[in-house]
């Protein structure tokens, strides 16, 4: 098996194909601290791509309530268990120099889904450690939360109080997910027909519908379970990264790269998507004023989802602040503590970049800050805290200004008549 470099693991790893990287890579950051689980993203995707016969249980974008929720059910627990069986108690990290962009999270000492396959699977042609979810595991997009709850015996009515429900000292958070359009996709590695491919222009991973014969090797292999089988066409489908919008060929985009449907629909303002420049070795090229580069490599508040799987996912998450750290370490890797500390006490630049979320549906390629006056000086949770009313300006692919916004939150007041007119 050829060796490729995985910067999220800080080391070389085995992958069935030689390394090949796109010019720019589709990537996104989700802020889990803001997600309210409204499922608007889920429905935006559903109504765009998966509304047809045979796609009833297919949700390319979903929001699941962690720790118990999952689509398909228990997907992450099952993969983690398989890896644990393959490499008992050795899925560990060695800390390193966080300032090194080639290994910002240290070095992963365990086995990836590709490396574990060599040990666990037979025949030799099996390339990725995974499992095929059962039909019933795909039925619930977010089990126990996908129907409104009401009192027993009363139909068609919400439970308006909820106070009679049992109360536990528990925690939960909403984890929004789409395909991670991984740098080393497990679906690409597993497909015996080479029907799954990664676009050279933006790294979006697609299934060639002409070539696919529905073997479901990709469904079995993807550790995030984001390739799905469609029974009535007998081929597999997956998130297409809304590529007509990303490449600017969607009529609404007017030639300018536009964020995906799930990003644009997010009312909680948790999402930002873009395309990042890559070096020849697949690491992120320094692009200091790109908002995603800033969040992942400068502020380091956004972390990959289950980096230990080894696919180098391009979805990054600002971890929830209130969740027990061992759980977060397992889910987002060793960068969690520093990320939360930084996010809890954001500096001027981080606050400004956070204001870029969902001000526009155009893809941001660069931002610039203009410093404003200090508007608050005091303490927050016992620590010194300062607020500045800075301005942050977003630019498109050709250097054109997309929008500018300030730390002060704009409130748009609609006319009393024709409120929904566009």
């Amino acid at each position: 098996m050829p060796n490729v470099y995985n910067w999220q693991l800080g080391r070389d790893m085995g992958y069935p194909y030689e390394a090949e990287y796109p010019k720019r890579q589709f990537a996104f950051v989700f802020n889990t601290n803001r997600c309210i689980g409204c499922q608007t993203c889920t429905m935006a995707c559903k109504s765009t791509w998966t509304f047809s016969k045979g796609q009833e249980n297919m949700w390319w974008a979903n929001v699941e309530t962690k720790p118990y929720g999952g689509y398909p059910q228990h997907w992450d627990v099952k993969i983690l268990k398989l890896l644990q069986q393959a490499n008992p108690d050795a899925q560990t990290w060695t800390p390193g120099d966080a300032s090194n962009p080639r290994q910002p999270y240290g070095t992963f000492d365990g086995k990836t889904v590709f490396e574990a396959a060599e040990k666990m699977l037979s025949p030799d042609s099996a390339r990725v450690l995974g499992y095929l979810p059962k039909d019933e595991e795909w039925i619930n997009p977010n089990i126990y939360e996908d129907n409104p709850s009401g009192k027993t015996g009363i139909k068609g009515q919400y439970d308006t109080s909820g106070t009679s429900l049992p109360e536990h000292k528990t925690w939960f958070f909403y984890l929004a997910r789409i395909c991670n359009h991984c740098q080393y996709p497990a679906c690409v590695a597993a497909c015996p027909r080479k029907a799954v491919y990664k676009r050279p222009e933006d790294g979006i991973v697609l299934v060639n519908q002409q070539e696919c014969r529905g073997y479901r090797k990709c469904v079995e292999a993807c550790p995030y379970k984001k390739t799905m089988y469609r029974g009535n066409t007998r081929i597999s489908e997956k998130c297409v990264g809304c590529y007509p919008r990303v490449e600017g060929s969607d009529p609404e985009s007017k030639g300018l790269p536009m964020e995906t449907r799930c990003m644009a629909a997010c009312i909680g303002q948790i999402r930002m998507q873009g395309t990042v420049l890559l070096n020849e070795d697949g690491t992120w090229a320094e692009d200091r004023n790109h908002p995603l580069y800033y969040l992942v490599h400068v502020a380091k508040v956004a972390l990959p989802l289950y980096p230990q799987f080894g696919t180098e996912p391009n979805g990054y998450y600002i971890p929830p602040r209130w969740v027990p750290r061992p759980y977060l370490h397992q889910m987002f890797g060793p960068g969690v503590d520093a990320a939360i500390e930084r996010y809890m006490y954001p500096d001027r630049e981080l606050l400004a970049v956070l204001q870029l979320f969902r001000r526009s549906n155009r893809i941001i390629y660069r931002y610039k800050m203009e410093e404003g006056p200090k508007v608050y000086e005091g303490t927050l949770r016992g620590k010194p805290f300062e607020m500045y009313d800075d301005t942050v300006i977003a630019y498109g692919p050709n250097g054109e200004e997309l929008f500018r916004t300030k730390i002060e939150e704009p409130i748009y007041v609609r006319p009393a008549v024709h409120q929904n007119s566009i």
Partner: protein
């Protein structure tokens, strides 16, 4: 909801599993929600309403654990620090300076009608 009742013998079926939180989880969650909503420009009473609504399960569970006094104090602290900027009323159909009759997190500044 699932079509059948959970089978007690099925180790993968969710059947009343409680993941215990750390002692300060509820307070941390309350600060997170209050800070995020303050950054979004919500006024104190709107944030408190959200904490009190069982439809918003995260804030509501924090509210149940902490009680109204603590939650009110958390919201006030966050709004004082974060929502200290003025809220700018943009794309407003009213003339600049006229009261639009809406609540904002901080003193507002009406910029009047704008095209965007």
């Amino acid at each position: 909801m699932p079509y059948n009742d959970p089978e007690p013998e099925d180790p993968m079926a969710l059947n009343g599993v409680a993941f215990e939180a750390t002692p300060d989880a509820a307070l941390e969650a309350a600060y997170t929600f209050a800070e995020e909503l303050a950054r979004l420009g919500q006024p104190e009473n709107s944030i408190l309403y959200l904490f009190q609504s069982p439809q918003y399960q995260g804030p509501y569970s924090a509210f149940q654990a902490l009680g109204i006094d603590t939650v009110t104090q958390v919201i006030k602290e966050c709004c004082t620090a974060i929502a200290s900027c003025r809220a700018a009323l943009r794309d407003c159909h009213l003339a600049p300076g006229k009261d639009p009759g809406c609540e904002t997190a901080a003193p507002w500044r009406c910029e009047g009608p704008q095209s965007h």
